[in-house]
């Protein structure tokens, strides 16, 4: 560790002090990747918290059969908006926008991204899209009630404000494309001297793979959403069987994007885990090349499996066979990652601090999520659990237990670096325990309910499902209490906590070699990279 140096007061020093504009304009018109990263961070966090509240309301409604706190139409709207906010406004832009922006340029030894102004523009587009989506909730026929998938024919016929919501998602998608092409160009063009592809931190590798998915898959979502609008306003009838259209073609187009989008959500999370584990096991990552390669492999194979969402939709048997087989192929690179993380832990000198706890939770929860994904990916078993609570449980294991726990890990791992102060350890651990326990109670129960045949997105259910639903709802309260404790502790720490020096965790990537908080252009002089990102010996960390 570096010796203690002059510590700045919070929100002060480094890039916090770059002069020029003042007040809010210093943020919303800044092209500094760190400021844009924080803009994104607080924006996505806000939508995350709104969506959490909606999720809790859903669980309260399902606490007992029949009406509990809301009517069926409200319920449909709430689960739709919960999904839309979580997917399109939180987790898809979340990692790339916040931690990608904050950390990636520093990790490759650059002063900023390749197109700083485009970077700011992408945040503005994101906010514009978000504003349109929020507007759609309160205007026209009211909030959309189609589910976040906007399936036709219902999305064409419902009187709710689907068109505006879809248009908002379209704008957010454009923002995502811009971030993607900015990151690919940055990683190709702005690596510091000596930062070869083989020395790239694994978080950067994961962002690179993710950015490609953003570039190549998001346009398909764009055209799909544009088609919904055309169907609603022009009556093109492309998905209307009465006029020769085929609703299944909508599902194909939608999932060509939306399945790879799952990897936009999870891949950067895997990258975070690959950073945290070596730092807290104080051991070079096991199988660097395989982890880097598996990020690309997951992005590639994950783009070929969209059909597994359509096994019961009436797709051809040949297609079911092909997509089921390809789905199993994705399990291979995912498993490679898990094995390598576990091998890194083996005989490491493990320090169980908050970021590491989140990383360990990720490995377990993601593995459960991934393995239950195979139950859904196998055509035969899928027919039993398709469109049941099992799918909801599986999805939340992968995305909440996986991506979001990684996001929390990243918050504990990186935010102190940018604020210069850190959270208290003990409450962070307590919060982690609460969330871990609450999470499993909430979502494991859902999977059991799904196995027993409780469908998803249903307002009411048979009395025999009542006890487990009650358990799941109570689990959600434990989960949320942990979440509140975590956020209070984290933010109190960032503003009032103990100051930290350059490298509080003893990690070997570039961001820990510069002052805390990082200065405006990150590096006083351009760094020359001589050792790998997890080479603790050469980095002089013992």
């Amino acid at each position: 560790m570096n010796s203690a140096e002059k510590v700045h007061p919070p929100g002060n020093g480094g890039f916090w002090n770059d002069t020029g504009k003042t007040g809010i304009t210093a943020w919303i018109f800044s092209t500094d990747h760190k400021r844009i990263g924080l803009l994104y961070f607080y924006s996505v966090l806000t939508f995350f918290l709104i969506a959490v509240v909606l999720g809790v309301l859903l669980r309260i409604e399902l606490m007992a059969p029949g009406r509990t706190i809301m009517g069926p139409q409200t319920y449909n709207a709430v689960f739709t908006v919960h999904g839309v906010l979580m997917v399109f406004l939180f987790i898809i832009p979340g990692f790339q926008g916040s931690f990608g922006n904050l950390v990636m340029p520093i990790q490759i030894g650059a002063r900023d991204v390749a197109f700083p102004r485009l970077n700011l523009f992408s945040w503005w587009l994101y906010m514009a899209g978000a504003a349109v989506i929020i507007t759609s909730l309160f205007t026209g026929g009211g909030p959309p009630d189609t589910g976040w998938t906007f399936y036709v024919p219902f999305s064409e016929r419902t009187g709710t404000n689907v068109s505006l919501a879809v248009f908002g998602v379209f704008i957010v998608g454009f923002s995502s494309i811009i971030t993607g092409l900015n990151f690919v160009t940055t990683i190709h063009r702005l690596r510091a001297e000596g930062m070869t592809w083989g020395k790239l931190p694994l978080f950067v590798w994961s962002l690179y793979a993710t950015a490609w998915v953003q570039i190549l898959a998001t346009p398909i979502l764009g055209i799909t959403l544009a088609l919904i609008i055309a169907e609603r306003f022009l009556g093109t009838g492309l998905f209307d069987p009465a006029r020769g259209g085929d609703p299944l073609m909508y599902q194909h187009l939608f999932w060509i994007y939306s399945h790879p989008a799952v990897y936009i959500m999870i891949l950067p999370g895997m990258g975070v885990i690959s950073e945290i584990i070596p730092a807290f096991a104080r051991k070079p990552i096991f199988g660097y090349k395989m982890i880097a390669f598996s990020s690309i492999a997951i992005a590639a194979a994950g783009s070929l499996v969209w059909g597994h969402h359509m096994f019961t939709s009436g797709m051809s048997d040949t297609a079911i066979l092909v997509f089921s087989f390809l789905t199993f192929v994705v399990a291979i690179p995912s498993a490679i990652k898990v094995f390598n993380w576990v091998s890194t832990l083996y005989r490491g000198s493990i320090s169980l601090e908050a970021p590491m706890l989140f990383a360990l939770a990720f490995i377990l929860l993601f593995s459960i999520g991934g393995l239950t994904g195979l139950i859904l990916g196998a055509a035969a078993t899928d027919i039993h659990v398709h469109d049941t609570q099992f799918v909801v449980g599986h999805f939340h294991y992968v995305i909440f237990g996986g991506a979001v726990f990684a996001f929390f890990g990243a918050m504990h791992y990186w935010l102190p670096k940018f604020y210069g102060r850190r959270y208290a350890e003990k409450p962070a651990v307590v919060a982690w325990v609460l969330m871990f326990v609450g999470f499993n109670i909430t979502y494991f129960t859902m999977m059991v309910l799904g196995m027993k045949g409780m469908p998803r997105r249903y307002y009411d259910y048979l009395p025999e499902f009542a006890p487990l639903n009650l358990v799941s709802t109570i689990g959600s309260w434990i989960l949320v209490s942990g979440l509140i404790l975590m956020l209070v502790n984290l933010f109190r720490g960032l503003f009032k906590g103990e100051p930290i020096d350059r490298n509080p965790w003893g990690a070997a990537t570039l961001e820990w070699t510069i002052p805390t908080p990082p200065p405006t252009e990150n590096f006083e002089e351009e760094p020359v990279v001589t050792h790998g990102p997890y080479d603790f010996k050469k980095a002089g960390i013992t």
Partner: protein
């Protein structure tokens, strides 16, 4: 490799190409639908295709190819430092774009006059494949037309910068990227033309 404070032209071009990929995939979704529905309704697609105005289609193909040539020559001209020539060529390109859109307007007016547009009573009564063909035609060509409009605006903006001298022989990546965008518009039309006008 560098820190990113200077102008990185190769980086700007890479970024532009990545953007063009997203455009290809955007139209790709419509081509995917076209392929799937062609496989289902080959006869109806053929019949509908025969009714298209081949004259307009061919004329617009020639116009777009010519505009593509002009903008490619503009890049050559700026590399040689011939500013007046660049302005002339860009003007020609934008003129081609305007002619293209005018033709499109005449063509669509004729078709709409014949009762061919999404949701029209004629198409609703006709065979299902026909309605799908024309809906796809209007969406694809409409989206392409929008790109023609954006491209022409972009090239006008570039021409103003050339006029002002901020784009010159030493720094012309903006013109290059504008030209790349325009070629993409041409490229997509090259595929739209046979799929909608020449399918018999």
């Amino acid at each position: 490799m560098s820190g990113g404070l200077h102008k990185d032209n190769a980086g700007a071009k890479l970024g532009m190409w990545l953007f063009l990929f997203t455009e290809l995939l955007l139209f790709g979704g419509l081509f995917l639908l076209y392929a799937a529905y062609l496989a289902r309704y080959p006869r109806e697609f053929g019949a509908a295709g025969r009714e298209m105005h081949l004259g307009f289609g061919t004329l617009n193909t020639v116009i777009l190819i010519t505009s593509s040539l002009l903008v490619a020559m503009a890049v050559t001209a700026i590399q040689r430092g011939a500013r007046r020539m660049v302005l002339l060529l860009l003007g020609g390109t934008v003129l081609c774009a305007a002619t293209f859109l005018f033709n499109k307007y005449l063509e669509w007016s004729a078709e709409i006059g014949n009762g061919i547009y999404p949701g029209s009573s004629r198409l609703t009564a006709g065979p299902p494949g026909e309605s799908v063909f024309y809906s796809l035609y209007y969406l694809t060509v409409g989206l392409h037309g929008l790109h023609v409009l954006i491209g022409a605006t972009l090239l006008t903006f570039v021409a103003v910068r050339v006029q002002r001298g901020t784009i010159h022989a030493g720094d012309y990546v903006l013109l290059e990227n504008g030209a790349l965008y325009w070629h993409l518009v041409d490229l997509i039309w090259i595929f739209i033309f046979p799929l909608y006008y020449l399918i018999l």
